[in-house]
């Protein structure tokens, strides 16, 4: 962690986060290749967010036979609102898991173990792709900015907390 988390209770299912994520990483609006997603049942309005828990989970990293998932230190600067501001200030330091595309063989081991279903084979590059918190400026949070329904937030774990000092 830090990682982003979608609140099932607050999320309105607007999918702005997926759109911004795709635009940031793919250079075009292709939400089927977003790094996070919100699953909404239109009839019942039951919503389930799917996001990467980064080092708080690490199952993809553990499963990778080629050490292609690296732990990287980043500083996150969040645009817009986020609940952690009071605690952490405007920036948060921590670790994220990123794909080393040169080492990745697209073997698919990580796809099978991901509990939230957010690491996949890229449709054109033939390697795994996943959330990297936009290198410190997460666009999903920036576009989940209705101050009344802010549904995406940043969380940190123990490891990250040590870095804050």
């Amino acid at each position: 962690m830090p990682h982003v988390l979608i609140s099932s209770k607050k999320c309105t299912g607007c999918h702005m986060c997926e759109l911004a994520c795709a635009a940031q990483h793919e250079g075009a609006y292709r939400p089927s290749v977003a790094r996070l997603f919100s699953e909404c049942n239109p009839t019942t309005a039951v919503i389930k967010g799917h996001t990467c828990l980064q080092t708080g989970c690490s199952k993809c990293q553990e499963a990778c036979p080629n050490d292609a998932i690296l732990t990287k230190e980043i500083t996150v600067k969040v645009k817009g609102e986020f609940a952690g501001k009071e605690k952490f200030g405007d920036t948060v330091k921590g670790f994220v898991l990123v794909v080393d595309e040169d080492a990745c063989t697209n073997c698919g081991e990580c796809y099978d173990v991901c509990p939230t279903g957010v690491i996949h084979e890229h449709p054109t590059r033939e390697v795994a792709y996943k959330c990297d918190l936009c290198d410190g400026e997460p666009q999903c949070i920036a576009f989940c900015q209705n101050p009344h329904v802010l549904a995406i937030d940043l969380k940190v774990d123990k490891k990250d907390k040590e870095l804050q000092a």
């Binding site: 309105t12 299912g13 607007c14 999918h15 702005m16 759109l19 911004a20 795709a22 635009a23 940031q24 793919e26 250079g27 075009a28 609006y29 292709r30 939400p31 089927s32 290749v33 909404c40 239109p42 009839t43 019942t44 309005a45 645009k79 817009g80 449709p123 666009q139 920036a142 576009f143 900015q145 209705n146 101050p147 009344h148 329904v149």
Partner: protein, 600 residues
């Protein structure tokens, strides 16, 4: 080109075939997308004088250039046809997530023609189009069930645009549904789907919409969101939504009550915003919308989205129903059956009126819940009293010798604003390009909600109907026409300047406010030409809404009348300001000035 996919999918249901054609970019440059591009395609694709029910009469699904991006609220789809109710153009808008999915599948527009020999569902996954038999599994399903079936049988992320039983029975106010509660409600597109034996169009897209420099675009959209979208002016929709209008309209004598016999509803507190807030459970948004106005409610085991204001007015006050559970149930029935609530409520209110006046006993009375709740089902099946109610208000009232009791314009039932309480609405209804509609211009914003224009005069209103009152928020016909090319939602009070800033991303040039307005005026005039070509009734509204003797005797708008002469003069003033002749025909000079590229 960025933002556009450049593809039109043409579906022929008669032969069960489809073909992809390039989008006409010359038309897109003039008419942008949404309403504008739809009308240009309709001019070409609707055979002049065609019977709307005929196989060659198309239903067209059109997106806007910004669907599938971070441009807030611009995810709407417009569905167009020559309406079987009115015989003129009908552009009906629907939110949800269908239009973006169409774009991701690679299409800006889908043109549907022909008539399938057997009930059919058209499924589209990117470039793969299939015609799936709808019998025996899918035909007959209600709207939530067909969507669930498509997510199960076709694709977990399928987006479905479907008809319910009402559409299958070709009811003239059957609507199209998507994401369950979102309706292309007005004008009978669902009836045409039914005639074409088309249960649903289902789409799943995994492709992309390109916007040029995506990071620069994202940065600008972030700016536009924080500065223009997430403002106090727009957040009313998130916090309360359209139910907030109920009490305001009742207090102003504007809410149609008991088939338009008064403008103030004595049981309003049962169905006003406070009452809905008490049963509110959840707030949802359409795709790519930062506002999120869709309010979910639960009462007496009835759970779901809505009702919205128009339903509260026409199916509530206008039927004398102040019982929130009954109203919610009626709304849910209409949603599941695929019925437009405005026309449904209007015809039930008429039947109640005919019963109470002793003209014809339908067993329906104002405020009585039992018969009221059975009506939607009976109408959709044309069973029992439903067989007669399915005629619609105009034909039903005429059948019993009381045409004055039908509250419609050009055979489209009127929504929830009585012009006797807000005079500007009279002209808005009369000149609306699809018949009785509140979405072309909205004098209510300034005459009632904002209080910045006097509600009891037509003085100077013709100008406002055309151009709006931008400084105060009232939308006029020209501006709504350009806003619906985007296709932006009514609930983002976007300005011409902001529209220009967003257009610039697509067309890589500046758009002045004047040009933005001119695009709207061009679209409006194109619509007028289409209606004249197809044969439009004279612009008028039910006489009691303006005649001296039609004034209310009770409620907050009692005693107010526009006056017949005043109304007719305002209509002529409107034509003159539009550059149209006394019969409402656009002049050659006006069409040339606007660059309209078709002629009668």
């Amino acid at each position: 080109m960025d933002f556009y996919q450049g593809n039109v999918l043409r579906i022929d249901l008669s032969s069960g075939t489809s073909v992809v054609e390039p989008l006409n970019m010359e038309w897109a440059e003039k008419y942008i997308g949404g309403k504008g591009l739809l009308l240009r395609y309709m001019w070409e694709e609707v055979p002049p004088g065609v019977d709307p029910w005929a196989p060659e009469s198309p239903v067209i699904l059109m997106t806007g250039p910004f669907a599938g991006t971070n441009v807030s609220t611009a995810s709407r789809l417009v569905v167009g046809c020559k309406s079987p109710a009115t015989g003129i153009l009908n552009d009906s808008y629907v939110g949800g997530s269908f239009a973006p999915e169409m774009k991701f599948a690679g299409y800006d527009a889908i043109i549907i023609k022909g008539e399938s020999p057997e009930p059919v569902i058209v499924t589209i996954k990117d470039d793969k189009v299939e015609f799936v038999p709808a019998m025996p599994k899918y035909w007959g399903l209600k709207t939530s069930a067909i969507e669930e079936a498509m997510r199960r049988d076709f694709d977990a992320d399928a987006k479905t645009l479907s008809i319910g039983p009402a559409g299958e029975n070709e009811l003239v106010w059957a609507c199209l549904s998507t994401d369950q509660y979102h309706k292309a409600g007005r004008g009978g597109h669902g009836a045409l789907f039914g005639r074409k034996k088309l249960k649903a169009v289902v789409v799943r897209g995994t492709g992309s919409v390109s916007v040029g420099d995506a990071k620069a675009f994202l940065a600008d959209m972030y700016r536009i969101h924080t500065e223009y979208v997430l403002t106090e002016d727009n957040l009313w929709a998130n916090e309360e939504g359209t139910p907030v209008l109920g009490q305001i309209m009742s207090d102003a004598g504007v809410i149609p009550t008991r088939n338009w016999s008064t403008g103030t509803f004595d049981k309003m507190e049962g169905i006003n915003s406070d009452a809905f807030i008490k049963i509110r459970t959840k707030n949802r948004a359409c795709y790519q919308c930062a506002i999120g106005c869709r309010q979910f409610h639960e009462v007496d085991g009835i759970a779901g989205e809505g009702p919205e204001y128009e339903t509260i007015a026409i199916c509530g006050a206008n039927c004398g129903i102040g019982d929130i559970a009954a109203l919610s149930k009626f709304n849910q029935e209409c949603d599941e059956l695929g019925l437009d609530t405005i026309s449904s409520g209007a015809v039930v209110a008429l039947a109640m009126d005919l019963t109470e006046k002793g003209i014809k006993d339908f067993g329906l009375r104002f405020g009585e819940v039992e018969g009221y709740l059975k009506a939607p089902q009976l109408i959709s099946k044309r069973e029992g009293l439903g067989a007669e109610l399915a005629l619609g208000t105009r034909a039903l009232a005429a059948k019993y010798g009381h045409p004055e009791l039908a509250m419609e314009v050009k055979n489209l039932e009127l929504p929830g604003y009585d012009p006797r309480g807000s005079f500007g609405m009279s002209l808005g209804y009369a000149t609306s390009d699809r018949g009785g509609c509140h979405m072309r211009t909205y004098p209510i914003a300034d005459e009632i909600v904002g209080g910045t224009l006097p509600p009891d005069t037509l003085e100077g209103k013709a100008m406002k109907i055309i151009w709006g009152n931008p400084a105060e928020g009232m939308i006029g016909e020209n501006f709504s026409s350009v806003k619906f090319t985007g296709i932006w939602c009514d609930f983002w009070a976007v300005t011409p300047e902001q529209i220009g800033q967003i257009f610039k991303h697509a067309w890589k040039r500046e758009f002045s406010d004047e040009e933005v307005f001119q695009i709207g005026e061009r679209v409006w005039n194109l619509g007028r030409l289409f209606n004249l070509r197809e044969g439009v009734e004279p612009d008028d509204i039910p006489q009691k809404l303006y005649a001296e003797e039609g004034a209310h005797t009770t409620g907050a708008s009692a005693g107010r009348a526009i006056g017949t002469a005043t109304f007719k003069a305002a209509l002529q003033e409107f034509y003159q300001l539009r550059g149209w002749d006394e019969n409402g025909v656009p002049s050659e000079a006006k069409l040339a000035e606007l660059g309209v590229d078709v002629r009668l």
